[in-house]
Amino acid sequence: MGVEGIGARVVRKEDKRFITGKGRYVDDIKLLGMTHAHFIRSPHAHAKVKKIDSSAALKMPGVVAVLTGQELVDDKVGNLICGWAITSKDGSPMKMGAWPAMAPETVRFVGQAVAVVIADSKNLARDAAEAVVVDYEELPVVADVHAAIKAGAPQLHPEAPGNQVYDWVIGDEAATDAAFAKAANVVKMDLTNNRLAPNPMEPRSAVADYDAAEEHYTLYTTSQNPHVARLVLSAFYNIAPEHKLRVIAPDVGGGFGSKIYIYPEEMVALWASKKTGRPVKWTSDRTEAFLTDAHGRDHVTHAEMAFDANNKITGLKVKTYANFGAYMSLFSSAVPTYLYATLLSGQYNIPQIHAEVIGVYTNTTPVDAYRGAGRPEASYLVERMMETAARQLKVDPAQLRRSNFITQFPHQTPVIMAYDTGDFNASLDAAMKAIDYAGFPARKAQAKAQGKLRGIGVSCYIEACGIAPSKAVGSLGAGVGLWESAEVRVNPVGTIEILTGSHSHGQGHETTFCQLVAERLGVPISQVSIVHGDTDKVQFGMGTYGSRSAAVGLTAILKAMEKMEAKAKKIAAHALEASEADIVIENGEFKVTGTDKAIALPMVALAAYTAHNLPDGMEPGLKESAFYDPSNFTFPAGTYICELEVDAGTGKTSFVNFVAADDFGRLINPMIVEGQVHGGLVQGIGQALLEHAIYDANGQPVTASFMDYAMPRADDVPSFNLSHTTTLCPGNPLGIKGCGEAGAIGASAAVINAITDAIGKNNLEMPATPDRVWRTIHAA
């Protein structure tokens, strides 16, 4: 490893502009003649739109247009799509209602847009929006899964009887039932995985610019995957053909999944730019973000785990109701199925698993992937079950896990996934040592003597990342392939540009991707630039989510580098009159091994571009591209252990220690990895203790601002104690597994396991607010 190569704690290149306020976000973009959009949103969770009267608004100062859902229909703009087809157990395709970008007839959640005002300024648009009169006829509401699945419940979409999108199953039901019939012990639990609002620091934003002369569109938008945005906008929404649409995602301030999707506002801005002949900007405010950014989680589950007389798991049965909200968002259908139920084996040898997932419509904001996406729900379920089982079977929770660990790899689970490698004992050992697990009973007794309730909670998570092998996901219903592309351009003077289809919105790609180049060529990272987030510059890409950018995106860069290096070696060998096989690359030079003969990279690059003296038949230039499609998912795994105290008087939780031992395979930049783990852990702790997107029975959101929705703050979380154990991923040449979601996947179970240990009562739902914990302590 060089000072800036793989494994080096290189300070982030991009932070200079972020820390000094020089980041360039979508809302920073101002175009000549730009107008501003303000959406008129339904105050009702379910209603017919009877009439929209915009006559008064159109006469107000600065108003350019008031556009409605009916005009989208008239212009044949397509409805929003869901890109992953799921088949129900009876063989029928999933049942979806249409989702128009602005509702022409029916609104189905509070905040759904019915019209948009385009005006010269944001404030004028907002003023005029107040003058648009929308006549609604309210309809009965179902605000949660329980209400939605009742017989006779109000129906959201005629296409989906019983508000049911699908009833999907995985695993062998008969074999699982047989395992339960023979079980020595069965552990049963009901679990709720609370709905979360993603809340990236930067809200969504779009600037759309239609050029009438060229019939060309440019969309600047807060996207994790600009190429996918262009593909969907072109192929399904009938707004602009691909070659006439440029999508740019500049600096983006966090996404956590919520910026994967193509939302109504971005497509309406693009369409409205052509309708009005002016550039259109829309930037969400925080309340709009709470109302319209896709939410996460929201499962209601019953699970049962069977054990034999030796406390070995023999089976797992799961039935989950997943709340999709009012419409099926872009990847929503895959989240509680292939991203959730396929991880129900956890780190354990479970011979039989059967899971049934019922997807349900409710009059709430649509739900889709949010950091972890299905895997936090699976991990929470499995790890709460393991803890509960240990308590019921009266065995040490760490030991129960250890005795059921998968230790032979590869391992085929009963739920599709084939784990390639791992060492679950190693991460459990590391975490137990870091927290002094053996010393806990003494610490608990000491705390008790001081009137404190102390608890410890273990969580051994596994996730499937490096999303994903295209052929495999295609066979499961995905509408896209999940490879990645890259291009390496060596400029004539030897500086290097890496064009990548990955997109950085906080992950530090501008640093880590350069480190691979530094590692291979021995050049400083200052000579390397990363180009991303622009469909006119980068040929194609699938974007960043699912902890895929290092495992998939960086591997694509490696493939392109290898091609470039092979050509450069030929040029160097020709110049040095040596054999190509004898050329090695060191410190930015191409050397003839065992001699002092060398030619520097800039001279090789110059030779490639002057083309005065290239090997016979060689094309000029030094630029190579590659597409990389992974052969399998990757399987990051680890153990989190949390030690905390509960204040019996108030129910408030205080952390004593939180240790994380993760196996992410090879680390490119450990400092950035630690930052990713910190952020993930905070989101997992946020889910466990604080965050909950709540609706009342009328479908009104109760938590639509930070005054009510509790985001974790620095003083809500401990200082983390991190470590790594390593098994290299055999599926990609760099041995990378991915690190972006682990914290959010593994943390919440550790926290709830620790609180329930502290209070001596096992039934406790998230978020474990002080009130809820206090009531649980004092419940009869």
């Binding site: 907002r126 108030t650 604080l690 930070f706 009510d708 509790a710 607010t769 009130d771 206090w774 009531r775």
Partner: protein
């Protein structure tokens, strides 16, 4: 935000005069409630009259047994003031746990009590310490000042100039922070005056705003110790209930916070 006209008053008299000339004016102190409400278009004052830069409304004075905090003094300035820390450290503590750093740098004692949010911290201190609210027109006892949710004895155009606190023998404040807003989910201020009177006020608990807690006052009058409150029963009826705390939980917090405030008071 709707269009409004901003005025920076340089004296209380000028502020009063500006108020008289406007149709629907609002006084602006630290702006920690008014500005967010205006940004959400839930308030649309024709004029905003900024009191924050008026010199006569700034500062803290300790004179004998009376601590006077001028109305436009920020929480941060109160929290760090040597006289406050010396005379009534419980007030310094209260300001140190009020909101977050951004709120503490901007928010003021006058703004807090004029708004009388049922979960604001300062009303509990005024009520428990038997403070007097000074305005440009009169002096009002804290007991008579707070009139329920977001309501006070202030008349239209009346400006709070200062709050005077009799220095107590002992005082303490403890709160359970609202996990999202950092207001008081419930906060209790306990005080023992130099003449031996005990006053206890709770904020964030009652549906009618800040309240005295006579049962705890009686228990502490008999025995100034946390354990004296053990047997006190607080009724949950008429207490606030929301997603962050049931009425029963808040009733419990009134007791627990009172006990901890007594411990803190010494």
């Amino acid at each position: 935000m709707y269009q409004t006209t901003y005025h920076r008053a340089s004296s209380v008299d000028e502020a009063v005069s500006l108020f008289g000339k406007s149709s629907e004016a609002k006084f602006l102190a630290g702006g920690q409630t008014l500005l967010p409400v205006m940004k959400q278009r839930l308030a649309s004052p024709s004029d905003v009259i900024d009191l924050g830069k008026i010199k006569e409304l700034q500062g803290v004075e300790l004179s004998g047994d009376v601590l006077t905090i001028k109305a436009a003094t920020t929480y941060y300035d109160i929290m760090t003031n040597a006289d406050v820390k010396k005379a009534i450290p419980a007030i310094a503590h209260l300001t140190s746990v009020l909101g977050d750093p951004a709120v503490r740098y901007r928010g003021t004692i006058g703004g807090s009590i004029a708004n009388n949010d049922p979960a604001a911290d300062f009303p509990a201190a005024l009520l428990a310490l038997g403070a007097t609210v000074k305005t440009n027109k009169r002096s009002i006892a804290a007991e008579d000042f707070f009139k329920g949710l977001f309501t006070t004895a202030l008349e239209d155009g009346e400006i709070i100039t200062a709050v005077s606190f009799p220095v107590p023998a002992k005082a303490g404040y403890e709160k359970m922070r609202h996990p999202a807003s950092r207001f008081a989910l419930t906060g209790v201020f306990v005080a023992q005056t130099k003449s031996g009177e005990v006053r206890v006020a709770a904020t964030g608990a009652s549906q009618s705003g800040v309240m005295r807690v006579p049962a705890i006052e009686a228990a502490l009058k008999a025995n100034w110790s946390p354990s004296a409150i053990d047997s006190v029963s607080i009724s949950a009826s008429n207490l606030l209930a929301d997603i962050h705390g049931t009425a029963e939980y808040r009733a419990n917090l009134v007791k627990v916070m009172a006990q901890r405030a007594v411990t803190a008071a010494g």
